[in-house]
Symmetry: C3
Subunit: 528 residues, 3 copies
Amino acid sequence: MIHFGGDYNPEQWPPSVWESDVSLMLQAGVNLVTVGVFSWSRLQPAPDRFDFGWLDRALDLLQAAGIGVCLATPTASPPPWFTLQNPDQMPINQDGVRLTHGSRDTYCVNAPAYRAACLSVVGELAARYTPQLWHVHNEYGTTCYCDFCAAAFRRWLSARYGDVATLNDAWSTDFWSQRVTSFEEVLPPRATQYLGNPAHLLDYRRFVSDAMLEHYRSQRALLTGAPVTTNFALGGWVPVDHARWAREVDIVAIDDYPATLEDRAFAADLARGWSTDGRWMLIEHAPSDQARVVAQPYLSRGATGILYFQWRASRGGAEQWHPAMVPHEGPDTPVFREIAALGSALRGREPVTVTASTALIYDEQTMWALQAPHLPPRDSDYDATARRWHRALDGPVDVVPPTAPLDGYDLVVAPMLYLMPAAVHRALRDYARAGGRLVLTAGSGLVDEHCRVTPGALDDLIGARRIGSELHDVTATVLHRGPDGLPALTENRYGTGIVRYATTDDVTQTAFEGLARVAAGDPAGDLA
Amino acid sequence: MIHFGGDYNPEQWPPSVWESDVSLMLQAGVNLVTVGVFSWSRLQPAPDRFDFGWLDRALDLLQAAGIGVCLATPTASPPPWFTLQNPDQMPINQDGVRLTHGSRDTYCVNAPAYRAACLSVVGELAARYTPQLWHVHNEYGTTCYCDFCAAAFRRWLSARYGDVATLNDAWSTDFWSQRVTSFEEVLPPRATQYLGNPAHLLDYRRFVSDAMLEHYRSQRALLTGAPVTTNFALGGWVPVDHARWAREVDIVAIDDYPATLEDRAFAADLARGWSTDGRWMLIEHAPSDQARVVAQPYLSRGATGILYFQWRASRGGAEQWHPAMVPHEGPDTPVFREIAALGSALRGREPVTVTASTALIYDEQTMWALQAPHLPPRDSDYDATARRWHRALDGPVDVVPPTAPLDGYDLVVAPMLYLMPAAVHRALRDYARAGGRLVLTAGSGLVDEHCRVTPGALDDLIGARRIGSELHDVTATVLHRGPDGLPALTENRYGTGIVRYATTDDVTQTAFEGLARVAAGDPAGDLA
Amino acid sequence: MIHFGGDYNPEQWPPSVWESDVSLMLQAGVNLVTVGVFSWSRLQPAPDRFDFGWLDRALDLLQAAGIGVCLATPTASPPPWFTLQNPDQMPINQDGVRLTHGSRDTYCVNAPAYRAACLSVVGELAARYTPQLWHVHNEYGTTCYCDFCAAAFRRWLSARYGDVATLNDAWSTDFWSQRVTSFEEVLPPRATQYLGNPAHLLDYRRFVSDAMLEHYRSQRALLTGAPVTTNFALGGWVPVDHARWAREVDIVAIDDYPATLEDRAFAADLARGWSTDGRWMLIEHAPSDQARVVAQPYLSRGATGILYFQWRASRGGAEQWHPAMVPHEGPDTPVFREIAALGSALRGREPVTVTASTALIYDEQTMWALQAPHLPPRDSDYDATARRWHRALDGPVDVVPPTAPLDGYDLVVAPMLYLMPAAVHRALRDYARAGGRLVLTAGSGLVDEHCRVTPGALDDLIGARRIGSELHDVTATVLHRGPDGLPALTENRYGTGIVRYATTDDVTQTAFEGLARVAAGDPAGDLA
């Protein structure tokens, strides 16, 4: 069975609409809806008052119709009364501006009153309901710089580094007089005069990911009777290390709002790569009158569910123009008909199992490291580069984190893998030594996990000395040269395997496709 | 008689210059000057000290020369001593940054100490002078987000909605957990994590307009002996609903700083459309050596006055390079000669009366609604679209608010009228039903006054179902199809009138002009 | 002897690397290294604890090898403990955001605790070491808007203007009601509603320059036994009036990070122009494998030293990818070999002496004045215009401040010299009257030292009335006309000299070069 459905927010509509909703859901083949994502202000209208009546009725209607429920905890948006009663617990941005409610996602996971309020409302939900799936929070991602965060960051650093000498060494604090003598001297990367320290910036994103993960875990501990997940949001701004989080969810679930079918394929391969058992679901994407075409890349890559945001278009609010399964104009519309056609097509189908012999390594910490302001603008470069390689490879491809087991793959491509901890160095060597085919590129392996430059670290693998962007003392075979006559692609024997190295990917799309094909193992003649 | 003149700031010059000024004014045909706009720090050098001596002398000189005075209240820029004594009464921006003096317009109309200081200085002026025209404040427009504003906003909401249930419904607060349980929980739209609520944002602009209007009224109540007005500033950033304000001024007066003669024509038709009796004046525009050409679009559209900013170029300050009637180089210059030629040409002329059979509906609240960040960037689109239709229509055209009486017009065009309260729906239907010709476009009638989507709301008028950007079940006549074969312009009989509908205005200028011509009633053959 | 070397930061490396560093320095011909620039957190790990042991050892190694030391005071970046103990002494930006450590340069020179801390650590250094050169601070440039700055600004204004009446007149405060009745009412140009007052903005930059100069002087007073300097940073953001500072350093030393050799030549001529004796050094620039070519423009213009940032590439920190004399990959690299080749070529050479007969006037206060937000965006225009004229002139050229003695030059070019105090007016007239050849341009002489417009101020020099951008009543000879037939270049006899005037420089590069050549004295035929 494949789950099919979307976000359903009955609280936005009078109960008279609900029955029509359920009937239309059945008509569309919907078998799972996500309920309650932003319902906190309805569920708990005041600190000391809960109201579950409306939710009871909505869930009863769904249950009676045999429609499964993915029940969300509403903690991504505390209600207005929370701001009023706890102004000092609201998040603060890098410039020290205190945010207020008025949108969504105004929370600080390190603020004690917010955490207590979360556990209270989640405890009530857990005690009352047993859905088919628990959906914790929504698209974790708010970064805060308040004093609660500062204190939690220091505890996190203390646990990570043990003492300040180790921290100073890891962060290279002798540059620009940043040496600390106690953890108390460390702050979040708040507004400062000029470029921040890359190691400091990266550790803060790691900390934010871990702090949000702890928040997730504290809710998960209360939820029983059904698998638990949260919806992963993709994008360079998101401070969530999904590879790490994927071990903590019962099923990997992603939200995906890309522009192309190729990007959908990438996201699907990525979600499967984060999963431990190949099972994953698309828990949000945008409905359209091309729903069947759009669903294809996900379904063919193992999705166990195809869900949308959202069921019925909202009359008001900031996403009133977001597409919906039931558009403003109702079910007698091309979008709803297409959704229903897909629902019908999915009936009785089972998720496919995907087996790939190629892996592409994708690392969110590398993406964060490359976003540091001391580097050229790379907000999208890492992600775009990974996606470009993904498109050029002949699928199926597993997009995996650098910590994934690599044995079993015929080919492993690690484009622009800037950040390379010692364990990754070992894993890549083990893979190649044992007969694997490994592809590295210009940006790969430049720094260690603390963003410290590691000159020569890949030279043995590549079979050449890298000096800046050039190769010297090349012992590898040159497979291809660029227009300047310099090596563009080399091949080095390593153990019983081979390592290919692309000196640049800043070439035309045609040239890139040729390069990628040869790097992936096609005859070099194609490049001529 | 047509008023001719400009802003005159004698306080910037030694008295020795004043006599020369008056003599040059007479030479240039000046008969009205605006005095005192930014003179507060001169008129009240300290909280407990006023100095009117210099103003007495300046006004005496003008009066002796027979030059009329438009006397301004100086409240748009409180003096430096006000900041020093009342730091907590200064305005705060969306990020919570408290502003200080150092420019102009640093005020919060809801700050009690500022309001008291305004009434004090205006009371003194009112007791002492009787000008030909009172000019309250200058270009109302400063938006503040302080706690005084928050409290006033809540009172305004309470008066508008009565109870929070009605507010919650109007604002669609069930989206993103924004439901409030008391007005105390409502804040100004301060910095928040993501997109704001469109209804909240729009109501805040309405509130700011009303709060400034109350400030205007409090001054007007003190001013006697002459008509009272304020200068309307045009532009997307201005939170003033001029259609509403126009009922509160004795004559509509606009400032206009556009790039083209067509835009001047639009502004003139707009000012006349705001006026109740067709009388209006251009109270500020930029002098140049093309003054006669520039004045033409205003004069031919009924302006009763042609005034400039400013009489004599300022030696220093932020507008020292702003053009002036008497440039830095003095009267022996092309600009002054041209100004004098216009002044001479205006002598003995009377304002023209304009009678238009076409109305173009222009609505500043719609402009604000379309500026909400959840929509594609539209800062200029609404205004630009309205101006494009205006240019394409064969004048004369009245540019009127949606609340204007429409009977009597042969043609009413309502381009991109996104925001449509029930009363506007009724007025348009009444107009068409009684035989009017009405033109609507793709953006028209999408939401109600609270920014809630109103699917199908225009279908009866249009004669088709609008689903997203497409027409379905078309019963109207298709007058023209686009390159994709889909209807581009339709015509529907409604009562004894007709309603034409343009499905898009995103076309080339040539195509647009053809479309607009047919929409306005020319033979459809022109589009072939 | 020519100094050759760069910034050396031994604290970033274990002592085991130091001996190798010294040996490589000798190999590269290094004879001067700048030590300690950002070492405060190492030198003073806690408020009450100093650690000079490591610096003693590093300096001993250098001394033993005969390598000179330029010892820096570390005050540009107070250590993290300073923030923790003195949060209220950290700098504040225009929006009121308090900055924290985490980068570099987070200081306010008017904060008393910071000043005391500086004098303490500098006193310790001065008591312990006698280097070849003292290097105070680093690239002065942090602008702060805190209350300490506000108070110091008021004292500075009081000393400059004596009374508020003079200040009001100088600042043209009658525009926009900015008249103050006491110095207490003056604030730094913090966030305000709209455009700031140009005179206020310019005086604040002058004040910041003077406040930093006082900070420099307070350190210099403690330093003995060697010449004292600081490194001048170039760029529009820098609030340092280097012409004024140059009188306070024992040798002018500049940092230069441009894109072209022409820009290096300009910087070299500028540094020499700031110097009183023609001696100056390049104290920072970027190493590369083109070091000999890059050094040429500096050496041929009198540089007494060629120094780089930095000796050994940093493993971590925000400048880890900044080029270095010893790259990450070590000395067996093209860059190090090139550096050593230059070092070898410099051995035994002496600085050249430059004698120029042409002067180009360059004024940082004019650059600041042109950056005021009431003017068209000119961040780079003034600097770019000066550089464009510099390139077009046939060298050698002295780039000098407007206060420099001009007699002795055959030609003086003052492009876009917007800001012209009375003394500069006098100096230019004296120069021309006595037979000099003077070139002025469209932007020259528009305002006085308080940014007040001075219409007609250059008319006698130019031989025409300037009205806006046009010439009227031209008595000068027209050397060249533009495509519009209007004068493009005029020549006027003044005393026994001549004054040429270019009415615009907004022309193609080819046209500009012809114009500049004729303006500089070539036959006018070249322009045909």
